[in-house]
C-alpha cells in the first residue's frame, strides 16, 4: 500500500522538528470547537478545582461538599490526559528529560502556581477557559480578564528584570539533569510512547462500550485530550508567551498565532451558537451549555486576571 518507509518518514517529520505555533493554534482551535459540539468549550482550571476537591475529601475534609469523581469529570479528564498526551509526544520526539531547576526557580514556580490557582478562582478562570474559550464566546468578562493578564505579566516581568540585577543568586545555583533528553540510548522513548498510546486507547474504548450518553462524552474527552497534549507539546503553543513577548522582545510570533486561533474559534463558536449544533443529553441542559457565558462582575475578572498574570509569568515554563 505504502512505499516502504513512507509512514516512518511521516512519523519522523511530525516528531522530528517542532511545528510552527500558528499551525498548533489552528489545530487547537478546531478541537476546541469540537469540544463545544460535544459538551463545553475547552477549560482547565475547573478540572483542577475538581481534582483538589477530591484530594481534600480523601484527606477527610467533609465541609467542602461532595465533588464529582475525577473519572466522571470532563475537565479533570482533559487535564490529566493532556499531560499524558504531551508526555507521549515528548517520548515520540525523544525529547523527554527530567531536569531540576535551581532552588530559587523552584520557589518561584511554587509561588507562581499558587497565584495562578488563586487568580483562576477569584476571577473567571485561566488562560484556557477564561481567555482561549472566553474571548471567542464573546464574554465581556474575558476582555477584562485579558487586560488583567497584560498588567500582571508586565508587573511580573519588571520583577524578574529587577531580581536579576538585585538578587542574581535566585536564578543561579545547582541544577541537575536526571534523564538527559538528547543523545544516544533514547530508543526506549518511542517504545514507551506506543505502549502509553495503547493504554489511552484502551481507556477510551472502556468509556465508550458503557454506552451511556455521559460515558460516550467522557470517552471523546479522553481522546481529544490526548491529541490536544500532542499538539501543545509539538507547537509549544503558549498563551503566556503571547502576553509576554510584546513587553520583552517586541516579537509578534506568539501574539499572531494566538490571534489566528482565537479567530478560528470565534467563527466556530458563533456558528454553533447560531444553529444550536450538538445534541448531548437533554435539550434544556444543552440550551444552558450553549450560552457558555455567565454573568460575572467585571472587577472580579480584572483582579483574577491580574493575579493569574503575575503567577503565570513568575512560574514560567
Amino acid at each position: 500500500m505504502f512505499k516502504k518507509g513512507v509512514l516512518r518518514d511521516l512519523f519522523d517529520s511530525l516528531f522530528g522538528k517542532s511545528w510552527p505555533m500558528w499551525i498548533g493554534g489552528i489545530l487547537l482551535a478546531l478541537l476546541n470547537i469540537l469540544l463545544f459540539v460535544i459538551k463545553y468549550p475547552w477549560g482547565a482550571s475547573g478540572g483542577y478545582v475538581n481534582i483538589g476537591q477530591n484530594l481534600f475529601q480523601s484527606l477527610g475534609a467533609k465541609s467542602i461538599g461532595t465533588g464529582t469523581p475525577i473519572s466522571l469529570h470532563t475537565v479533570a479528564l482533559l487535564n490529566i490526559f493532556i499531560i499524558l498526551g504531551a508526555f507521549i509526544s515528548s517520548l515520540f520526539s525523544r525529547e523527554f528529560s527530567i531536569k531540576v531547576a535551581p532552588v530559587g526557580e523552584l520557589v518561584k514556580g511554587l509561588i507562581g502556581g499558587a497565584l495562578m490557582g488563586i487568580g483562576a478562582t477569584v476571577g473567571i478562570g485561566c488562560t484556557t477557559g477564561g481567555f482561549f474559550s472566553g474571548v471567542p464566546a464573546l464574554s465581556g468578562g474575558a476582555l477584562f480578564l485579558s487586560l488583567g493578564f497584560m498588567v500582571g505579566t508586565f508587573v511580573a516581568l519588571k520583577y524578574l528584570l529587577w531580581e536579576m540585577e538585585a538578587l542574581p543568586n535566585v536564578s543561579m545555583g545547582k541544577s541537575c539533569t536526571l534523564i538527559p533528553g538528547t543523545g544516544k540510548k533514547t530508543g526506549w522513548q518511542r517504545w514507551l510512547g506506543w505502549i502509553l498510546i495503547i493504554v489511552v486507547l484502551f481507556i477510551v474504548s472502556n468509556y465508550t462500550v458503557k454506552g451511556t450518553a455521559l460515558s460516550k462524552i467522557l470517552g471523546w474527552h479522553v481522546l481529544i485530550a490526548l491529541i490536544l497534549g500532542i499538539i501543545l507539546q509539538r507547537s509549544r503553543y503558549c498563551i503566556v508567551r503571547a502576553f509576554r513577548e510584546p513587553f520583552m522582545t517586541g516579537e509578534a510570533t506568539a501574539p499572531v498565532a494566538i490571534i489566528i486561533s482565537i479567530l478560528v474559534v470565534l467563527i466556530g463558536f458563533t456558528v454553533l451558537k447560531f444553529f444550536g449544533v450538538g445534541n448531548a443529553g437533554e435539550t434544556a441542559v444543552r440550551a444552558i451549555e450553549m450560552k457558555s457565558v455567565y454573568a460575572n462582575f467585571w472587577l472580579r475578572a480584572l483582579l483574577g486576571g491580574f493575579i493569574f498574570g503575575l503567577g503565570m509569568t513568575l512560574a514560567g515554563g
Binding site: E105, L160, S171, S175, P180, M248, E251, G316
Partner: protein
Amino acid sequence: MQVDQTLDCKGLSCPMPIIKLAKAVKKMNSGEVLEMIGTDPGSKTDVPAWCEKTGNIFMEQSEEGGAFHFFIKKK
C-alpha cells in the same frame, strides 16, 4: 571559534534564559562571541528569533550531554 563569554542557563525555564541572554549581550563589545548553555527546549526557537529581532548574529547551535549550546556574536 573564540568564545569570549559563557552564560550558564541550565535548569532555567522560559523566560529566564532570554532575559539573561539580553542582559549579557548588552554588556559585551561588538564582535564578541557569547556561548549560552541551556536545557529549555523552547530556547531552540527562541534564541534564533531573539537574534533576528535584535540584529545580533546567531552563529550555530549544538547539543551535548542533554544541554543545548548556542553561539551568538554581538553586532
